[in-house]
């Protein structure tokens, strides 16, 4: 009997070991997803569940709060997971392979659409789609709408009005107000003069660091590159939705104009830029060390959160990125979207419906306040391109500026055509070439040739 007891004990021990090892495996597999989840799985099964894979790490807290509020209201479980900065595609790839895959995921435009071609649900008849102010903003496949924009965003050169005012008052200033700066030649004259007088202005450089660390170079290989390439595509009347097979990078010299201006009037020595991140540049601007930084409307939440921020809400303004293109005095900010919410058609019908309901609630229902409220109030501060938001403008000085520029009929906005850049690899290589140009290891014509060559080969590889 005693012997038998021992046996039982051993068997039980072994079983518990096996069980422990099994849960051990299971635990590691799902630990990533529980990190950002709001953890409400108690919802009844008939209602469907929402799993939102968030693209914007800076808004992880807000999305979690929104999910919680929605669950409290409706009892539908909403799980939010946020991919770390720059890892959205890889997180999506691994999450999509799981049995409880994201039901709402973000697509960055026509190129992303190619990757996930068979995963998109048709949203043409969804409520949210009908409220779009302009269907050209949606992600389309032929006449079918497969993705709806979360927000319209804008970018340009952000400047600190307080520092500019100080400059305008100096003797021999090259301009007396921002209105005079409406082309590259004027911008260059002002910036170079400011660099010469930086001691008087109390700044360390005119522009913040041109961050070229890997993964931190998107302001140059994507945003800045958008301008010359958009002009080229417009010249050729190319339809970007079909994909662009090759480019000539016709206006590369205009890119070089502004890029060199950034480099030569920067707070940081050229040779050191390979170690600088976007966060560094935001910090330099927030601390008043520089007068200008190229970035977008989303950056206000980071600037306002910086310790020792000296930039006031009314001092932060946008100006278009002038590159020396003819007729650029009529150029506006770059305004568009690269965040399309898409529904995973491989999710169960209940889950798909629950996901669409969630988006409807957020953009056309009671959740709308969360969209427009500023980051400090727990909102997203989005400019939402839906007619339900008529008369509601977002909080946040930069978002307001974007709306102003958008409504300014004298200027033409530059669309976000970078959504047709052939692949992430293309952008990475572009960024690497820029870094080598900055470090003096490549000439500008090398960079230009590489961009043309890589575009062609990457577009062919992904077709």
């Amino acid at each position: 009997m005693r012997h038998y007891g021992k046996k039982m004990f051993a068997a039980a021990l072994a079983a518990s070991l096996v069980a422990a090892s099994l849960t051990g495996c299971g635990g590691t597999a799902s630990s990533g997803s529980s990190a950002g989840s709001t953890g409400n799985t108690a919802a009844s099964s008939g209602k469907g569940q929402v799993y939102y894979l968030n693209f914007k790490p800076e808004q992880a807290d807000q999305f979690n709060a929104i999910a919680k509020a929605y669950t409290q209201k409706t009892g539908v479980s909403v799980k939010v997971q946020t991919a770390a900065s720059g890892t959205y595609e890889q997180t999506l790839k691994s999450e999509m392979a799981k049995s409880d895959a994201p039901t709402i995921f973000i697509c960055n435009g026509p190129v992303g659409y190619k990757t996930w071609g068979s995963y998109y649900a048709d949203l043409t008849n969804a409520d949210i789609t009908k409220h779009l102010t302009n269907t050209s903003l949606a992600l389309k496949d032929g006449n079918k709408i497969v993705g709806v924009p979360l927000a319209v965003e804008g970018y340009g050169i952000i400047y600190n009005q307080a520092i500019m005012n100080k400059y305008f008052k100096l003797d021999g200033a090259k301009a007396k107000s921002m209105d005079e700066i409406n082309n590259f030649a004027k911008l260059k004259a002002v910036v170079e003069d400011m660099t010469a007088k930086k001691a008087k202005l109390g700044i360390k450089g005119v522009f913040a660091s041109t961050s070229l660390k890997t993964g931190e170079d998107w302001r140059w290989q994507t945003h800045l590159a958008n301008i010359p390439i958009t002009y080229e595509l417009q010249d050729n009347k190319t339809d970007i939705a079909a994909g662009v097979k090759e480019i000539k990078f016709k206006y590369s010299d205009e890119y070089k104009n502004i890029f060199d201006l950034y480099l030569n009037n920067s707070v940081t020595d050229k040779k050191m830029l390979g170690s600088k991140s976007v966060g560094d540049s935001t910090g330099e601007f927030a601390l008043g060390q520089v007068a200008m930084v190229q970035n977008g409307s989303w950056v206000w939440s980071d600037i306002s959160k910086t310790d020792g921020n000296v930039v006031g809400k009314d001092d932060i303004k946008f100006m278009p990125i002038y590159t020396g293109h003819s007729g650029e005095q009529d150029q506006g900010l770059c305004i568009g979207t690269e965040n399309f919410a898409c529904i995973n058609t491989k999710a169960s019908a209940d889950d798909q419906k629950a996901s669409i309901d969630f988006l409807n609630w957020l953009y056309t229902g009671e959740g709308m306040d969360y969209v427009t409220k500023g980051a400090s109030d727990g909102g997203l501060g989005f400019i939402a391109p839906y007619d339900t938001f008529k008369g509601k403008s977002p909080d946040g000085p930069l978002a307001k500026q974007v709306v102003q520029w958008e409504n300014n009929k004298k200027v033409k906005i530059v669309p976000w055509d970078f959504t047709c850049f052939p692949s992430q690899n293309f952008k990475n290589k572009f960024g690497a070439a820029l870094l080598q140009y900055v470090q003096g290891q490549k000439t500008w014509s090398d960079v230009k040739n590489e961009v043309v060559k890589d575009w062609k080969s990457e577009a062919a590889a992904t077709a």
Binding site: Q90, N425, Q441
Partner: protein, 281 residues
């Protein structure tokens, strides 16, 4: 005892076996299969034959050059880490005050995760290079040399511990006998100690070789391949192929299979070569 073992072997090996199958064997077989497929997620794969393997070598030269860099890096690491580790072990097996403290200190870097180490050393290197107005990204060589320094710093302590264990097992009788026969310290080392610690050397060589060749975290955190992937080792190249190129998931998988085969071959050859030199004690 033998009989109980025969009866209850399952109790002891099953947990490990289940984990091994779930976490290693099944993914390995799946990965092998996926290297012949085109896919976006692993559940919607389409068979495409050998085209992934062809692309791995033709599409871009990045795989071959990364492989070359990995070989140089591994060679440097294996030699340096074992040299440092063994030297430290020799020093710390003498009867000196504070050997335990030093052993602990040298072992400690091994306890820090690779990503954290990568970022810490990035700060250190960039801080030093800033004096010369350069950064780690100025030249791909800097990244590789930096990685070698990092790996030496991290792995030396671990290898040292293994060597210490080996050296302490060398019977004092043998050393005494050698001394009586008039052997110098150097001769004792070469002809007595080293042959006696051959098992430790096998283990250390194997571990440094495998770890250096498969290095990923530190590479990702230190330079992420900058500039222009000239400091990317094989594992990072595979990762980048898989994740940053649409339609290249299968190619990444094919590269990973080739990589596995190379690692296995090198390891077996090396294991075989060092095993032959071992002395029974």
């Amino acid at each position: 005892m033998q009989r109980t073992l025969r009866k209850y072997w399952a109790v002891f090996t099953l947990p490990t076996l289940v984990c091994f199958i779930l976490a290693f064997f099944i993914p390995f077989i799946m990965g092998f299969g996926l290297s012949f497929a085109k896919f976006t997620t692993i559940v919607d794969a389409k068979f495409v034959g050998f085209s992934n393997y062809i692309k791995a070598f033709s599409g871009d030269a990045s795989f071959l050059s990364a492989l070359g860099r990995s070989l140089i890096f591994t060679a440097a690491c294996v030699v340096l880490i074992n040299l440092f580790g063994f030297t430290l072990a020799l020093l710390l097996t003498r009867k000196m005050r504070g050997t335990n403290v030093f052993r602990t200190i040298f072992f400690m870097p091994n306890l820090i995760g690779g990503i954290v180490l990568g970022y810490i050393w990035q700060l250190i290197f960039n801080g030093v290079l800033a004096k010369f107005n350069q950064t780690l990204t100025t030249d791909g060589k800097y990244g590789i040399i930096g990685l070698i320094i990092l790996m030496c710093w991290q792995m030396t302590g671990y290898m040292m511990v293994i060597y210490i264990a080996g050296l302490q097992n060398v019977s004092p009788d043998l050393i005494e006998a050698a001394q009586i026969d008039g052997a110098s310290a150097w001769q004792t080392l070469i002809h007595v100690k080293i042959p006696m610690v051959m098992p430790s050397i096998t283990i250390c060589m194997f571990m440094t070789l495998a770890n250096s060749f498969k290095l990923f975290d530190q590479n990702l955190a230190l330079t992420n391949g900058a500039p222009d992937d000239t400091s990317a080792l094989v594992a990072l190249d595979i990762f980048k192929t898989f994740y940053s190129r649409t339609g290249y998931e299968g190619v990444g998988q094919a590269k990973a299979v080739i990589f596995t085969i190379i690692v296995a071959v090198i390891a077996f050859v090396q294991l075989h070569a060092t095993r032959e030199k071992e002395v029974e004690n």
